[in-house]
Symmetry: C2
Subunit: 185 residues, 2 copies
């Protein structure tokens, strides 16, 4: 058969939300950007209420960004963290974001099992999370088999973990999604 | 900035290995196909020694196939299971493979944490694995935070799990990769 080509194109409005030229200092500024992407994805009905940004740690510049595209592109793999990581690889032209620069993944909600694994392979050296697994589960999203040991595993591999940063602002977007009748899958 | 487009094109030789018109009966036949893809990926130096196939459970027809494309496409997310799942979504035109037909994922090696999560979201109702996590770890591949509870989680969500099917044949491909000096990442 004719093998399909999978094409992941990013919503053009990401470029309106992210300012690629200015540094985002500190976790709060960085998390606000991830939450802004999640909110915009809800308002534009692009998919699930999740956003993620990869930053250069030292400069604070946004390097790549992603939102949930599962519904829009009909592909269950395309969570916000995965689309951000894939964009970063495309920009870097490399399968790893390691090296001296140092990158971190800032996500509006704690990663599901798939995205936590993807974080490990991406080469980022830090992950920062907003809303919690419980917040996501409470509105009906399954997060899969993530345990406290999963975070310990990342930590043991040299990945710093920071959780519940601006949790309430992040949770507000989950609730916005429910109020607008978004699909839970 | 100009947002990149991520494009996943599958090696044309997949079409030489997979016969899309005949049924593959029983787990052994299906696993041999996944292993054949893994082996061909090693011989063609396409990437890591891993292959995966999604089958229609009842008919035994191969529905979609994937191999590890991490090195070839410079993208850490593109494990064999993920590329098979993405191809299946592209063919189905849907973010889930659920429904009455029933699909299963047959993978030449137990999934890493990312792929185990992806399996859960894909909608397949069964996963069949060849080589074990230990086999992969022994040649230096990290599998991430997968625990026995992870498989139990899948089982509790209605996904059947079958492991160590043709384990030795599957492990032979891992060893072939090492002998040929394949990159471990």
């Amino acid at each position: 058969m004719m093998l399909p080509i999978v094409r992941i194109d990013y919503p053009a409005w990401i470029d309106e939300i992210v300012d690629w030229t200015r540094p985002y200092d500190e976790d709060h500024q960085r998390m606000r950007l991830a939450i802004a992407l999640a909110r915009e994805n809800v308002l534009r009905e692009g998919g699930g209420p999740f956003g993620a940004v990869i930053f250069e740690r030292a400069s604070g510049l946004a390097y790549a960004a992603g939102v949930n595209m599962v519904s829009r592109l009909g592909n269950s793999v395309l969570h916000a963290e995965v689309t951000a990581i894939m964009m970063a690889h495309a920009i870097a032209g490399s399968r790893t974001l390691g090296g001296e620069a140092g990158y971190e993944l800032v996500t509006s909600c704690e990663p599901c099992a798939m995205c936590l694994g993807a974080t490990l392979w991406s080469g980022v050296s830090r992950i920062v999370c907003g809303a919690t697994r419980d917040d996501a589960m409470r509105i009906g999203f399954d997060e899969g088999p993530v345990f406290e040991e999963s975070y310990a595993y990342l930590h043991d591999r040299g990945i710093e973990v920071e959780r519940s940063v601006l949790r309430e602002e992040a949770r507000d977007v989950l609730e916005l999604y429910v109020r607008r009748g978004g699909v839970i899958y």
